[in-house]
């Protein structure tokens, strides 16, 4: 049973340089979702869905916490 798509799993055929280039391009594109990203994807704060400090330079706002841990660690 194939669990990931061919696009996901064909990385094995890439050289180190090709993998670096592929990742770099993907990272460029992935910046477009920065504002929509979960606050935390790893670590023990992943259960916090509403914090927090604004990530924008020079601004801040009071935190609000939720224990609804729909996001991953």
């Amino acid at each position: 049973m194939q669990m990931l798509s061919d696009d996901d799993t064909n990385l094995a055929e890439l050289s180190d340089e090709e993998l670096d280039l592929a990742w770099d391009l993907w990272f460029d594109l992935a910046q477009s979702t920065n504002d929509a990203d979960p606050l935390y994807t790893h670590g023990v704060f992943a259960g916090i869905t509403q914090v927090e400090i604004s990530e924008k330079e020079g601004t801040s706002q009071a935190p609000g916490l939720s224990r609804h841990s729909s996001r991953a660690s």
Binding site: M1, M3, L4, D8, T9, L11, A12, L14, L19, D20, L21, A22, W23, D24, L25, W26, F27, D28, A30, Q31, N34, D37, Y40, T41, H42, G43, V44, F45, A46, G47, I48, V51, E52, I53, S54, E55, K56, E57, G58, T59, S60, Q61, A62, P63, L65, R67, S69, R71, A72, S73
Partner: protein, 266 residues
Amino acid sequence: MAGNIYFELTRAFNAAGPIAVLASGQAVVYYRVAIMSKDGDWVIRETAEACAQVLTVLAERGAVYRAGAPLDPRWLAGGWSSHFEFFDDKRRRVRCDFFSRPPRVDPASLSRLYEGEAGSLLVIDLESLIRMKHTQRAKDYAVIGELAARLPPEQEIQFTTDPDRLLTLASSYHGVIARAAIQAAIAGDRDGVVVALAREQDALQRIDRARVRAYAAAAEPYLADVGTMSSADRRLPGVHARLVERAERLLPVVVRAQENVDADVE
């Protein structure tokens, strides 16, 4: 040259000796399974020197603390995580997360992680990575199937999430049968394998959710306090001592959380 900033950071953290092991999503990239994470996660050696080295590297890049525990051996030992971010020379957001006690990874495996040379790209081993991926997030279980396929058969059968692989591997398996899905596979019961895998995943997800909730509750007063800090106030290196002072008042080192996953699901 274009490259993976998280691989580069790993080498920088380890420049003076092995202290940081690349884990989670970027380890999945390293093993060429998938590109599916834009953050970096490291298991860090639980020493003041290791923390200082990481803070120095991050300060050189203009990093700020995100809301999280201070990078200090006391909170690392309590299972807490520390979080930072900065923008690279192409103005791309780079997020860096650190912990020293990855959940579900046994201490013996942890002690072996730091066997490497100065400046090396240390990456977590496959079995530990799989155990770390036993999270509440559904997509991790597809990745586990792909990671397990890179293990020897006697290990793969203990971790794979692929029912077909389990049925194939079970035909020549003669080891310990602690996993319900293996028992069903040996009996040739495909439906039983599928049900056992689903129950196993659900149990793992529930346990991880409970663990994270316990930390979220314990962190509430501390996060409310650090949430008042501006981005400028959170910039390294000056902020670190201030966060430690706040954590000493408001963030408990020890959190009671269920950790023995294997006992519950096998």
